[in-house]
């Protein structure tokens, strides 16, 4: 190593050390400034290149757009409990238990009529993959994604949000009312059938019901039901007869994005089967007794944080 390179090496190193420390000291003294809490949409957002860059998150947060793919919220008053969201959900995080009502409950804000109560409308945000499909299929747009993103919990069970506005007791009551109404109708039907039988002794009760079924395309399920329950309880059969017309009323509200006449109906059937079965309680037993804390209202509060 010659004398000049030895000296120039020292000079080079000294120079670069000074450049380095000047840079860090510049940042150190700029730390008195702090960036403003601007939304990313603000034109100044990318122009704040001096001063502290981080925000003291829980105490202050940058505003975010109103609709991101964050926590789901269901406006239960507008929900017709059509179950589409639960069906399209790729991770099955939406759990709905509908209860039929004898007559129309009310109208949603877009004019669709509500005919089902939601005994249970639970969304497990711990499972949710934030794909947003449920909000796309929702016919009444009651299911939306809000801008609340900070909702971690110590207990994973608290990640299940229940949007149903019925308490288990109320749900049971609605169910009773419906069963009662069904019974009355069935009796009326039976009477009518009896008079028909009198008129035409050879005809059997199930036969007239069949033509009613035909138009709906749910043959396989119906077949099963008939073989299971058909002979023993003609009464049950009759209740199914009652269902059929109702479904037809129900169908038009489902905006035609969906195939599901066939996928949908059987499911409603299944549910009704469960409900009709002599011991309805197990349906409501739902394991997850969620602390009442997480009602949608609370969510809104936390989402106004910024």
């Amino acid at each position: 190593m010659s004398q000049t390179t030895y000296i120039s090496q020292i000079a080079d190193v000294t120079k670069s050390l000074f450049v380095g420390i000047k840079l860090t000291l510049k940042h150190f003294f700029q730390a008195t400034k702090q960036r403003k809490p601007l939304s990313i949409e603000h034109p100044e957002y990318f122009k704040q290149d001096t001063g502290l860059f981080t925000t003291l998150y829980p105490h202050e947060a940058l505003p975010i757009p109103d609709h991101g793919r964050n926590r789901l919220h269901n406006e239960i008053d507008d929900c017709i409990v059509c179950d589409l969201c639960a069906k399209i959900c790729p991770v099955d995080c939406i759990d709905i238990v509908p209860i039929k009502s004898a007559e129309e409950i009310g109208k949603t804000s877009d004019g669709s009529s509500k005919r089902l109560y939601a005994a249970k409308f639970d969304i497990d945000m711990a499972k949710c993959c934030y794909c947003g499909l449920c909000t796309t299929v929702c016919p009444t747009e009651c299911l939306t994604m809000t801008n609340a993103f900070d909702y971690s919990e110590f207990d994973v069970r608290n990640m299940i949000y229940n949007f149903s506005d019925l308490s288990p007791a109320q749900a049971l009551e609605k169910q009773e009312i419906y069963n009662e109404a069904q019974k009355l109708k069935a009796e009326a039907k039976a009477k009518k059938a009896a008079t028909e039988v009198k008129a035409e002794p050879s005809a059997q009760p199930p036969i007239p019901s069949k033509p009613v079924f035909k138009p709906s395309i749910k043959a396989p399920v119906v077949q099963n039901n008939v073989t299971e329950t058909g002979e023993s309880k003609p009464q049950e059969n009759d209740t199914r007869n009652e269902e059929a017309p109702k479904k037809i009323v129900f169908k038009p509200t489902i905006k035609s994005l969906l195939k599901p006449v066939d996928t949908e109906l059987p499911n409603v059937d299944d549910v009704s089967e469960k409900i009709d079965s002599p011991k309805p309680k197990p349906v409501f037993k739902p394991v997850i007794k969620i602390p009442p804390a997480k009602k949608p209202d609370a969510d809104l509060d936390s989402s106004t944080l910024n």
Binding site: T24, L25, H27, F28, A31, F53, T54
Partner: protein
Amino acid sequence: MVALLFILPFILTFVVLGVWAERKVAGFIQDRYGPMEVGYYGIGQTIADLLKMLQKEDIVPSKADRSLFLIAPIVIFVAILAGYAVLPLSPSLIGSSVKVGIFYLLTIISLDVVGLLMAGWGSNNKYAILGAVRAVAQIISYEIPLTLSVLSVVMICQTLDLQEISYQQGILITNFPGVSTPQNYLFGIKALDINVTNVGGFLTWNIFRCPLLFVSFIIFFIASLAESNRAPFDLPEADSELIAGYHTEYSGFRWGLFMLGEYAMMLLVSFLAAILFLGSWNTPLPNIGSVRLADWTTGAPDTIAGNVIGFGWLVSKAFVLVFIQMVVRWTYPRLRVDQLMNLCWKFLTPIALGIVVLTAIWRLLMI
């Protein structure tokens, strides 16, 4: 005794605030906030950390050499604390005014190496032993330029007594009995015939009494970073390579002692640099004509005011150096082992040797 009772709590307070300050400096340099939650601007963060640390289990690995492992952190901290014994904290406050002050200090600090090796060896852990080996190699290597730069100061001042070195660098020079040449000339050159003995201030600091000592000061500062295992010379700890180096296996209070040792060492070398080069507890403000800034900012020795003001100046100089140490840590990347040795043996040591020769000549100009 008074000095010990004073310096021990002072070190502990410094460590508590120093760790916090270090995190703040790091944060600000990186455009972050640093700790913000505990107390005003997070000032109580270290206390919270300390409380957590003291509650942790004191784990001794089953395959460790138990006795070595247990006393290593104590050896390190004691060695560093013993170094404070000869530091003059103010014109009249010094632990032990021995004639061989700086010699004793450099020697006792070297015991630090024994503690590091005990910790690394006793842990029976490959990272720990690697860290310890690196620490020993590094500290022993850097002791040479460090000692040489101290030697150049000793040659200028003609004494090993740190208190005498302090007195020589200010207007109180005549108050210390037995100073060989109780006169200060500008840049130490008698031929210029500008007597600054009564001007004082920064003009009588060692780096002005002999401007060559400024180079010594730089060398001392670099070597002291290496001595205290601070970045960019933190190879012994090298988190990214060695987990935590020699204190990998330590937890709880003993780990805390290592931390205490590191920060106490930072403060010690900063004190030492201030005493040797930057005028010790003397004021940086000179007397300008009838504006007697130096007189006004210097208290008479043996008075409370003299002690408080002197200590204030010394501490503020030391803290500036500590701040530079912190900024350096968060600016420069860590050296490789070969670069470390290269820097020490090819640059610092020869330059320090050259300075020693030149200061010997400069000393001739001073008398």
